[in-house]
């Protein structure tokens, strides 16, 4: 048992857990943030993607103790005040989700893709960058559309701000 402290969605948290506790279980069970999901055992499906110190990671393959001292953002922390993040809004506008189970991971991944590539995204790049996220419902068609739309929207918003 260790007392694990980290910052989650901007808030300092600390909770006791076994050293073998995975970050995803710490988030779901110790913190009650159940938006982060587990869809496989082999680090492949991406339903568990969160941001750790600004980068997308698979929380099913990191121990909570490894993440101690880190800044974590989960799907619950992506937006605030009832407004959707542009990526969330794009998924909604473009029907980029069906059952919703892979969706938190897809959204967190897409935010990271746009962070790294900016508005200059093409379909092939988006498809390649989604390698670590599996969706069984959408055939990815509308997910790809959502990511491209969000990138364009965020790019033009950034331009307008500059």
């Amino acid at each position: 048992m260790a007392k694990v402290k980290m910052t989650v969605n901007g808030r300092q948290v600390g909770s006791e857990c076994d050293d073998r506790t995975l970050l995803v279980h710490f988030i779901r069970e110790n913190l009650g943030l159940t938006g982060t999901h587990v869809g496989c055992d082999t680090t492949q499906c991406g339903a568990c993607v969160v941001h750790m110190d600004g980068r997308s990671v698979k929380s099913c393959s990191i121990l909570a103790v490894q993440a101690a001292g880190s800044e974590i953002v989960t799907i619950e922390g992506l937006s605030s005040g009832g407004e959707l993040h542009p990526v969330q809004a794009a998924f909604k506008a473009n029907h980029g989700l069906q059952c919703g189970f892979c969706t938190p991971g897809m959204v967190m991944t897409s935010v990271d893709i746009i962070r790294r590539h900016g508005a200059q995204l093409d379909e092939a790049t988006v498809r390649a960058e989604l390698e670590g996220n599996i969706c069984r419902c959408t055939g990815y068609h509308n997910i790809v559309k959502s990511v491209l739309a969000a990138a364009a929207e965020m790019g033009s918003a950034k331009e307008a701000a500059e």
Binding site: R20, T42, S61, L63, Q66, E131, G132
Partner: protein, 264 residues
């Protein structure tokens, strides 16, 4: 996962001390293989020593054509390094195709080479680049480092701290991914440098990464994709599984070699 005890090292010396104080201890870097293996209960270390916070093991230095990659450098950082891209774009390309973006944000070159998965990408690059694996106590050539499936020349408590190599005149990597796991079903790294042409193959060999003499001879004589056509790749010591027979892998070795040269 079985119960385990976690320790965070702040330096190489600290890591060595932590390792020696406990039994059945494993070093943990990005954990992209080790944690996954522990989750499946296929590994059960009593203790883990986390190397991810050892500052000395991070970073990329390029001086002239000499490259120094800290063992704790993530695949993403290798793939995105402008300095590295300017002297050896092939290794950036290779790193950009390991796992997926999230895995690349955590996984490290040191962890990958120390694990020596027969389908991992880095071993092919290091062998073809005639790289040196630097540890806390010595330097080991890639040719001597990779000794078999998941086997290396590392001693029990030895830590990989860096990888160094001289960027070759030309290098290329081409991988055919397993349709399910996306690991290399066959990956070929070709390099043409001062020491001649070296061709290393991963994902295909029954004993792990290997150099292919026939391809090296052909490409030494004629560094062009066409030169590969006349080479025979023996399938007898290649892996076979539900995804690819040894014969199919033998074909892929040639095709990937050809494409790696074309990309170089």
């Amino acid at each position: 996962m079985y119960a385990t005890n976690y320790h965070r090292a702040s330096s190489v010396q600290d890591a060595l001390a932590l390792k020696s104080s406990t039994d059945e201890t494993k070093y943990l870097s990005g954990g992209m293989t080790l944690i996954a293996t522990m989750k499946q209960r296929l590994a059960a270390p009593s203790d883990l020593v986390d190397l991810r916070h050892v500052a000395d093991m991070k970073g990329i230095t390029v001086s002239g054509r000499s490259v120094h990659l800290g063992a704790g450098t993530t695949h993403y950082d290798v793939s995105a390094s402008a300095a590295l891209k300017s002297v050896c774009p092939a290794i950036c390309h290779l790193a950009s195709h390991i796992g997926d973006p999230h895995v690349r944000h955590m996984g490290t070159i040191g962890g990958s080479v120390a694990n020596n998965d027969p389908a991992a990408d880095y071993p092919a690059a290091l062998l073809a680049l005639d790289a040196v694996i630097v540890t806390d106590r010595r330097q080991i050539s890639a040719a001597e480092f990779f000794t078999g499936l998941f086997e290396t020349a590392l001693e029990e408590d030895e830590i990989v701290t860096a990888v160094t190599f001289e960027a070759p005149e030309k290098a290329g990597y081409s991988k055919f991914a397993n349709p399910a796991s996306r690991y290399a079903m066959t990956g070929v790294f070709v390099a043409k440098g001062a020491g001649g042409v070296r061709v290393a193959v991963t994902g295909a060999g029954a004993d792990g990464v290997f150099r292919h003499a026939g391809l090296e001879q052909a490409l030494s004589a004629n560094w062009s994709p066409e030169a590969v056509a006349g080479v025979t790749v023996d399938s007898s010591n290649l892996m076979a599984d539900i995804h690819a027979s040894a014969e199919y892998r033998a074909n892929l070795v040639k095709v990937m070699a050809k494409r790696a040269v074309a990309a170089a």
